[in-house]
């Protein structure tokens, strides 16, 4: 029973980490209707910036981390300025293809700037777990979950209750209509990319605290994909619930089913659940239903 509880809690916390990364997908999608294939690479880039500031440059965490967030924001802005500002009004397909190119570009950029070596990532959160009797809660995941819930609720409020957030929602609906209403599409998309880069850097900090950093970290983008799809690509609060569902299912399947069948189920199972829910409800659990009138 204790093992079950441990795996349940661990799965829920990992799921909330996936939800944080999935938020990166969602903020970019909400502003531009673009599915960003390079989300995992943004996590890697954010991680390398943190490593560079804190370990390579030797800055204290209190200085290195804020600077890393600033650098990530600048990187997000650069991505928008160089690639996406020219694509306003173009087809979504063209923008999605650019994100695939971006994936390859970021990988190359990281290799050129930081080298191919596996790097140690600084210990941001204390290693010692929180212990309640026989229940162990990894501190980085616990703090990460708290941060994810705060950020998720904050972003949900921002997108649904504030003017800039609602403007971004209008941009997501239709670039032409948003422009005709006097909304700056470029500014909204730029803000979305900045947010996406910031969320990815926060995700990298929680995910990699005290561990090692290499390209393998980009796999978390893939792990977060069923969370984003399950929630529906528009709901930020919904992604928290989707994260919990995916994380708990994955954690329990990996703990109890994988050893029995020799592996491979834990990774696949969230995608099976995702496909099942999309089959029943194509917009995801909380996605917008679009009604088109001809």
């Amino acid at each position: 029973m204790i093992d079950f509880l441990n795996y349940l809690i661990n799965g829920a916390l990992v799921g909330l980490l996936y939800a944080l990364v999935a938020m990166g997908f969602i903020v970019i999608y909400r502003a531009s209707k673009v599915f960003n294939f390079a989300q995992g690479e943004l996590v890697v880039f954010g991680g390398f910036i943190v490593w560079w500031m804190v370990l390579a440059m030797g800055m204290p965490l209190a200085v290195g981390l804020p600077l890393a967030f600033v650098a990530a924001a600048v990187f997000g802005l650069l991505i928008e300025r160089i690639f996406f500002s020219r694509l306003v009004g173009e087809s979504v397909f063209a923008m999605v293809m650019v994100t695939i190119g971006l994936l390859i570009l970021i990988r190359g950029l990281v290799l050129v700037l930081f080298g191919a070596q596996v790097r140690p990532f600084p210990i941001i959160f204390p290693l010692k777990p929180v212990i309640f009797g026989d229940i162990l809660i990894p501190r980085s995941l616990l703090f990460g979950a708290i941060l994810t819930i705060i950020v998720g609720l904050g972003l949900s409020w921002f997108f649904n209750r504030t003017r800039p957030g609602l403007r971004m929602t209008a941009v997501a609906e239709d670039h032409q209509v948003a422009m005709s209403l006097g909304i700056s599409v470029k500014r909204s998309i730029a803000f979305a990319w900045i947010l996406g880069a910031l969320l990815s850097t926060l995700g990298a900090i929680i995910y990699l605290s005290g561990k090692s950093l290499s390209f393998l970290a980009s796999d978390i983008g893939l792990a977060a994909l069923p969370v984003a799809l399950l929630a529906g690509f528009e709901s930020i609060a919904g992604v928290l619930l989707a994260g919990l569902i995916v994380g708990i299912i994955q954690g329990l399947v990996t703990a109890y089913v994988d050893p029995a069948v020799g592996g491979a189920v834990g990774t696949v199972f969230p995608f099976v659940i995702m496909l099942f829910i999309l089959f029943v409800r194509p917009t995801g659990m909380f996605g917008w239903k679009t009604i088109e009138r001809v």
Partner: protein, 417 residues
């Protein structure tokens, strides 16, 4: 012949003598070059994938070894080996896509393989194309088939691991089985294969080995505290991680978080030094182990180290003296010795991939021929790796320094899984 005519002939000979001499001299000088036959190796590489960080040492050791062989051995035989690197990003699909181009461009007599993707993509093609491949890695259970065209100078990762477990059990003393936890991953068939081989040995030898649990994680684990806590509670005496350095670092952090000290076993591609670099401090790997059927690259004056130093002094070796460099050296020297033996068997100008394979299957290569980088190798048609007479070396961190914990540890019999 009149005096005048004789004089004209003499003058003509004198006039043309330098040209004739030059022509003869040129002929002599160019004779060996003309007799030299060039053969190509395809050198598989990963410059942009998960093993990009170790390519400098792996490829850096291949080049000087080939250069040395061309100068010292090939020239006498009338053979020159050239090679070209191909980046496949450690992706089987990329290997499959590159292979037709490699054949057309290079017409290689052998391939210097890198890892699982090469095996997965080419094991069905090489017999038809009649090109053998020499690997740097240990073998795989899923490729343990007769009539090989792919040759691993090391047995499977599972063979290497169980040799270590037997050694550790003897070192521990007592009669019970050694309790092992395995950290595996579904990310690669090779990782599952390693785990299944160890489990097979434990099943066949319950008096020697007990697998308390096999834990499955991502290639970059999020957190392993819960999992490690469980296997420690089950009494694991060693944790086997033959996947990658990220998993080693995550397990080590989990052990540190729990305040436990259980040694971790690693392999050549994620060894103690690589993992120490990934965690940021060699001292944190104190008491952990790595195992492989090759020489341990310590600072001791061994024949392997002397060979490496000679390559550094005379042939521009740029690689560091690391496990990866030993891997690169081992596979290249095996391939070169195979060429050498084939030339003696069929003639320097008649070497083909098929002839090289025949040689490898019939001619043992001694440890001396490989400067003790590898133990003596005797390949048979039963498996892609030698099935008898193999030994492993065990590396560790002792008092903050990299050291050989044991060498020449015998590899036990492990049935197919």
């Amino acid at each position: 012949m009149t005096e005048n005519r004789r004089e004209r002939v003499r003058m003509s000979v004198l006039k043309h003598a330098p040209i004739a001499a030059a022509a003869v001299a040129l002929g002599f000088l160019s004779a060996p070059a003309g007799a030299q036959t060039t053969y190509n190796f395809a050198s598989m590489a990963d410059f942009t994938g998960p093993y990009a960080d170790v390519m400098k040492d792996l490829l850096g050791s291949r080049r000087p070894a080939i250069e040395w062989w061309n100068a010292e051995v090939g020239q006498k035989l009338g053979i020159k080996i050239t090679f070209k690197d191909y980046d496949h990003r450690y992706d089987a699909a990329q290997v499959a896509s590159l292979w037709p181009g490699i054949k057309a461009e290079l017409n290689p007599v052998a391939v210097l393989g890198l890892g699982g993707p090469d095996v997965a993509a080419l094991q069905g093609r090489l017999p038809g194309d009649k090109v053998p491949m020499f690997m740097a890695t240990a073998g795989y259970g899923f490729a343990w088939k007769p009539d090989p065209w792919i040759f691993n100078q090391r047995p499977t990762y599972s063979h290497e691991a169980v040799a270590f477990f037997n050694w550790l059990r003897e070192k521990r003393g007592g009669s019970g089985p050694l309790k092992v936890a395995i950290i595996s991953s579904e990310a690669s068939p090779a990782y599952i294969d390693q785990q299944k081989g160890i489990e097979k040995y434990a099943k066949d030898n319950p008096d020697k080995l007990e697998v308390v649990e096999s834990v499955f994680t991502e290639v970059q684990p999020t957190d392993l505290t819960t999992q490690i806590n469980r296997v420690v509670r089950k009494g694991a005496e060693v944790i086997s991680i033959q996947t990658n350095t990220a998993a080693v670092v995550a397990a080590k952090r989990a052990l540190q978080a729990l305040g436990k000290n259980v040694p971790i076993l690693m392999s050549s591609h994620n060894g103690v030094l690589d993992s120490a670099r990934a965690i940021g401090d060699i001292k944190q790997m104190e008491g952990d182990y790595e195992v492989y059927a090759m020489a341990v690259p310590t600072d001791e004056k061994t024949p392997a180290r002397a060979f490496f130093d000679m390559l550094a002094a005379k042939h521009g070796m740029k690689a560091q003296w690391t496990v990866t460099a030993v891997q690169g050296l081992g596979q290249t020297v095996v391939a070169l010795r195979a060429i050498e033996a084939t030339a003696k068997r069929v003639g320097a100008d008649k070497i083909t991939g098929e002839a090289i394979r025949e040689t490898v299957l019939t001619t043992p290569i001694t440890a001396d021929q490989m400067f003790s980088i590898l133990p003596g190798l005797k390949f048979t048609k039963d498996a892609p790796f030698p099935v008898s007479g193999l030994t492993v070396s065990i590396g560790t961190i002792k008092d903050g320094k990299y050291a050989a914990a044991a060498q020449g540890v015998p590899v036990p019999t492990l049935n197919k899984w």
